[in-house]
């Protein structure tokens, strides 16, 4: 087999994926981009859809809230996932490893919607948690755990746990245990080993996991609206309102482009600041 036929074969294999991305991702986004720059009636070029966002303090505030909240949740997910990934790859025996991995994957056998409804059953005032805590004597009257910011955070961490844990596990897998042992032999304590050996090695995985988690949080709709209740307003809901309630595809598209642009730029900046290379990280 010569080089050119090998290459042809490669393209042949790639075609389904390229078709998929071209038809279902690139094309709709081209349309979205186009719609965001034309007026609702008449269809001539305009920047009004974007100006509408930047002039509206309410939308700016919701946008900032969504962005800050997503970032915090991403950090929280990292704090939960990292020890988990470390235990699964380095500490646990074969059985425990399989069990923990299963525990991380199992929730994804049901859809996000079902997950959110399950949280509602558990966390509502008349729900399981409130009942158990009362039986244990920790609280003395029913407590509502739903409809708070921390409920949203809880739900979001849960829905993105897998996407953070797996990449970190991947990168930790390649870390030679003898490096950790060597660090200890040379007098390092737990924290300095973590800082000097483990985290630098896992950095690409952390980066990939964080990017995925951040994007998932930013674009979330179901978990946020169901668990957040009266204080949930998320930027995706504003986009939904533009498309569905106001029938304004153009403003809706502009808002979508703003969200997309922000997440891309934000990720790019974080990659630059942490001196990570995405192609290397992946």
């Amino acid at each position: 087999m010569n080089a050119s036929s090998k290459r042809r074969g490669l393209w042949l294999v790639l075609i389904p994926m390229l078709l998929w991305i071209g038809l279902l991702f690139v094309l709709p986004h081209v349309k979205l981009f186009y719609l965001s720059f034309v007026s609702r009636r008449g269809g001539e070029f305009t920047l009004a859809n974007y100006l509408y966002f930047f002039k509206n303090p309410l939308y700016r505030r919701i946008f900032v809230r969504t962005a800050v909240f997503s970032t915090l949740v991403t950090l929280l997910t990292l704090v939960v996932s990292f020890p988990l990934a470390f235990i699964i790859t380095k500490v646990a025996g074969k059985r425990l490893k399989a069990m923990l991995l299963l525990a991380v994957i199992l929730p994804y056998w049901v859809s996000e919607l079902i997950q959110a409804f399950t949280w509602m059953v558990l966390l509502r005032e008349s729900g399981v948690f409130s009942y158990l805590l009362q039986r244990l004597g920790i609280i003395h009257h029913p407590v509502e755990f739903l409809y708070h910011d921390y409920t949203i955070a809880l739900g979001l961490v849960y829905t993105s746990l897998l996407f953070m844990t797996i990449p970190i596990m991947n990168s930790l897998d390649t870390l030679d245990d003898s490096l950790i042992e060597a660090a200890y032999d040379l007098g390092a304590n737990f924290w300095s080993t973590l800082r000097e050996i483990i985290i630098p090695h896992a950095a690409p995985g952390i980066m990939v996991g964080s990017i995925m988690t951040f994007m998932l949080n930013l674009g979330n709709y179901v978990t946020v609206t169901l668990l957040g209740g009266k204080n949930s307003l998320w930027f995706t809901e504003i986009i939904y309102n533009q498309f569905i309630i106001r029938f304004n595809q153009n403003k809706g598209s502009a808002f979508s482009v703003i969200l997309l642009t922000f997440s891309v730029v934000f990720v790019w900046i974080v990659l630059k600041v942490t001196k990570q290379d995405l192609s290397e990280a992946m």
């Binding site: 078709l19 038809l23 509502r124 008349s126 309630i245 029938f247």
Partner: protein, 399 residues
């Protein structure tokens, strides 16, 4: 390598565009072929319409497939099975939870993918004007005797656009309050009870248009009149907004779905709520001493859901057959019993279960019927004003 990639990328794009163009072209010149052509083989626009099992083998040659876009409970399985048995027409149903959702779905494909829809009356003519998603009703195909005459006249008139009727009466109902008689026996005198600090954390309502109207009436405004003028309507809605923000600490959460409201009420988490009559009535059937549907002094808010034929309908005959079928009193009675909704079918109430009829008569007696505030048509600016207000309420900080 790089050049090759871009060439391939361009190729994919061109192919995609060509496919999209073909798809569009194949769909437009599709005159209403007589029902011999099974509609199921014609895949609906793949991008938007979530038609269920469109790939299924064509149904029996007799009638093809009827595709409905409607609300939960409007086409009970019992009736669908009976219809299929009688006519040989298969029924595919897509559910909606909101009139705007219905319009957005229809507008995306100009109605292609659905034959029969059930929009609420006040949305019919304005949606037709903006998006052209329906076709005029062919009165020669409908059995007028099945309908209650007063409803027939009023709905045909109120759905008129350019002199032609676009909707037939189907199901109507009211929105008022449901209270927990054990916990809040005195609630329900006025919609302002939703703001009473006595019930802090024990109140729920929708963050939707119907709640805006309730607060507007409770504050002494007439939104149906104010809506005719943009500035006037904004003034009224801003007053409603201020009230709703002031009351935000009282409300536990905003309910979205029937299930959610029932859960909140049944678990005693909420004592005072706004509710569709049908939800409250089915709860009253289950817990006669615990819940009650109450119409406050401002009057219930009323809505009328209709039958409308999609502009892109492929099986118009089946749509009319369904209308004539479901409006027969014995069939409409099934809807009343199952869901509590009232229909425009002449004689259906008499065939419905006496238990339900009693509950309805008790909570919505003739003198309360007179105070119903019907939904009013919304000019495009009113949609935006309402959306603005609701977003501001939802974004307001509250403990």
């Amino acid at each position: 390598m790089k050049r090759q990639f871009w060439m391939l990328f361009a190729f994919v794009l061109v192919l995609a565009l060509a496919l999209a163009a073909c798809g569009g072209a194949a769909k437009t010149p599709q005159p209403q072929a007589p029902s011999s052509k099974p509609a199921a083989t014609e895949a609906p626009a793949a991008t938007e319409a979530p038609a269920q099992s469109a790939t299924e083998a064509p149904a029996a040659a007799s009638g093809g497939v009827l595709r409905m876009l409607t609300w939960e409970g409007y086409a009970p399985e019992e009736l669908v099975d009976k219809f299929t048995k009688e006519t040989g027409i298969k029924v595919e149903i897509t559910y909606i939870g909101d009139n705007n959702e219905l319009i957005a779905k229809m507008a995306a494909t100009k109605g292609v993918g659905f034959d029969l829809v059930s929009p609420t009356l006040n949305y019919v003519a304005t949606a037709q004007e903006q998006f052209g998603i329906y076709q005029p009703i062919d009165l020669s195909k409908v059995n007028k005797d099945l309908f209650i005459p007063a409803y027939w006249d009023s709905i045909l008139k109120n759905s008129e656009y350019e002199g032609k009727p676009y909707a037939l009466p189907f199901v109507w109902g009211t929105t008022a309050m449901v209270v927990n008689l054990e916990k809040a026996p005195d609630a329900g005198q006025s919609y302002l009870d939703l703001c009473d600090p006595k019930y802090k954390g024990r109140v729920t309502y929708r963050a939707k248009y119907d709640t805006l109207y309730m607060f507007a009436y409770a504050l002494g405004y007439d939104p149906a009149e104010a809506v005719k003028n943009e500035d006037e309507y904004r003034k009224v809605m801003n007053a409603v907004r201020d009230k709703m923000i002031e009351c935000k600490p009282i409300v536990r959460t905003y309910w979205d779905s029937r299930q959610q409201l029932e859960d909140l009420l049944k678990n005693d988490e909420v004592w005072v709520a706004t509710s569709w009559d049908a939800i409250a009535w089915t709860l009253m059937k289950e817990y006669p001493n615990k819940f009650k549907y109450v119409v406050p002094k401002e009057g219930a808010v009323g809505w009328f859901d209709t039958f409308a034929i999609s502009a892109g309908a492929e099986n118009v005959d089946a749509a009319y057959k369904w209308i004539n079928f479901v409006m027969k009193p014995e069939n409409a009675a099934v809807i009343i019993n199952k869901t509590g909704y009232q229909t425009a079918s002449q004689g259906a109430v008499e065939l419905a279960s006496p238990e339900m009829a009693k509950i309805v008569a008790e909570t919505l007696p003739p003198e309360k019927m007179k105070t119903i505030k019907w939904y009013f048509p919304l000019p495009p600016y009113a949609q935006d004003i309402q959306a603005d207000v609701l977003e501001q309420v939802k974004a307001a900080e509250s403990k």
